[in-house]
């Protein structure tokens, strides 16, 4: 799958990095365990590198996902990932939302959940700054939409506020967003559903594992690597419903 980001997207959308490639390697090895016709959801899909490749690999194995849904808080990322999927003829839908806001996933449930969260521990001020930009972008969108900007004009206008900081800024323990999402997604998983989560050593890994255990999930460490001063891990949690 070819990821092509234009100049603005290169600034505004998370460009696949070491964390993405580690995650992708893990998913490539895992794909053989995915159920037939799975409902696959990725939170914070960015450029779409993870869910796009999953969808493509499933198709190649004659195991098409029933749904591959990417959710991203950043409109620019939704636009970029949708375009990239079309260019690669990959089967995918993207929703611009804040976490699971507006999603009624209770009936279908989720079989595979992929999450590379904003994991970097950051100061409160940085979290506040992200919230401010997020609010500004949403206001800009509403205004541009009300002014009847559509198509490329809307894309360019909305891109004037850059949400890239939201893609990594994780607040306290780097877990501010992660805990909210995990709390919700554990209620949406189907029996034998699998959650894949990226973490770094600075995140409270033992607490995360204990959280999942209490909800009936069995946990595994799939990958571990050191990049500069960051130890990165891919965790897998299987729901024993």
């Amino acid at each position: 799958m070819k990821i092509t980001l234009n100049k603005t997207e290169y600034k505004n959308v998370y460009v696949p990095n070491d964390d993405s490639y580690l995650f992708l390697d893990a998913l490539k090895e895992e794909i053989q365990y995915f159920p037939q016709n799975a409902i696959v959801v990725e939170m914070g899909c960015g450029s779409g590198i993870l869910i796009g490749n999953v969808s493509k690999l499933l198709q190649e194995q004659n195991n098409r996902a029933l749904m591959c849904v990417g959710i991203d808080i950043n409109y620019d990322a939704c636009i970029a990932s949708s375009r990239i999927m079309q260019e690669n003829q990959i089967y995918f839908d993207c929703i611009n939302s804040n976490g699971f806001e507006g999603l009624a996933l209770d009936k279908s449930g989720i079989d595979i959940f992929i999450f590379n969260p904003p994991y970097v521990p950051t100061e409160d001020e940085e979290v506040e700054r992200c919230k401010k930009y997020f609010k500004e972008k949403q206001q800009l969108f509403a205004q541009a939409y009300a002014n009847n900007l559509r198509g490329q004009d809307l894309i360019e206008e909305v891109a004037k506020v850059n949400l890239i900081d939201c893609s990594y800024s994780g607040g306290k323990d780097g877990m501010e967003v992660t805990w909210k999402i995990l709390e919700k997604v554990t209620k949406l998983m189907n029996a034998n559903g699998i959650i894949y989560l990226f973490v770094i050593q600075d995140n409270p890994i033992n607490e995360i594992i204990a959280f999942f255990k209490a909800k009936g999930f069995e946990g595994y460490i799939l990958k571990k690597q050191q990049k500069y001063n960051e130890i990165q891990l891919i965790l897998k949690f299987v729901y024993n419903k």
């Binding site: 016709n37 029933l66 611009n96 804040n98 507006g102 009624a104 009936k107 198509g151």
Partner: protein
């Protein structure tokens, strides 16, 4: 956005009568995808079929059945229609509206992306 996704969206501003969202389509395109009978049969139980059927008929496909036909696994005509509706029809521009009369919040679909984000004072 495809109708498959419409089946998964609700208004997050209210907690009742918030599903399904009414849908208005200004522009849609068909992108073909290989028909797979097994996949679509597997999907049916995961859908809110009544919601889908109402939506499809409101959008002008009047012959679309209200209920899942009996012997659905042999009804190729129906399955192919369902495939077209769920997998191949992409809504590029339009809007979703909360069905709750006291809310009626609009969620725009632009460039194929539904924007479900609430403002701070709506949360």
């Amino acid at each position: 956005m495809r109708l498959l996704v419409h089946n998964l969206l609700m208004c997050n501003k209210c907690d009742k009568n918030n599903y399904p969202l009414k849908i208005e389509v200004n522009k849609s395109v068909i992108m073909e995808l290989e028909f797979k009978k097994d996949a679509i049969l597997k999907l049916i139980p995961k859908l809110d079929f009544e919601v889908l059927s109402n939506t499809v008929r409101e959008l002008g496909f009047k012959q679309f059945p209200k209920q899942i036909p009996p012997n659905v696994d042999q009804d190729l005509v129906f399955l192919k229609d369902l495939h077209r509706v769920l997998f191949e029809t992409h809504i590029m521009d339009g809007q979703l509206t909360c069905p709750n009369p006291s809310c009626k919040r609009n969620y725009p679909i632009t460039n194929g992306i539904p924007n479900m984000i609430l403002t701070e004072d709506e949360q």
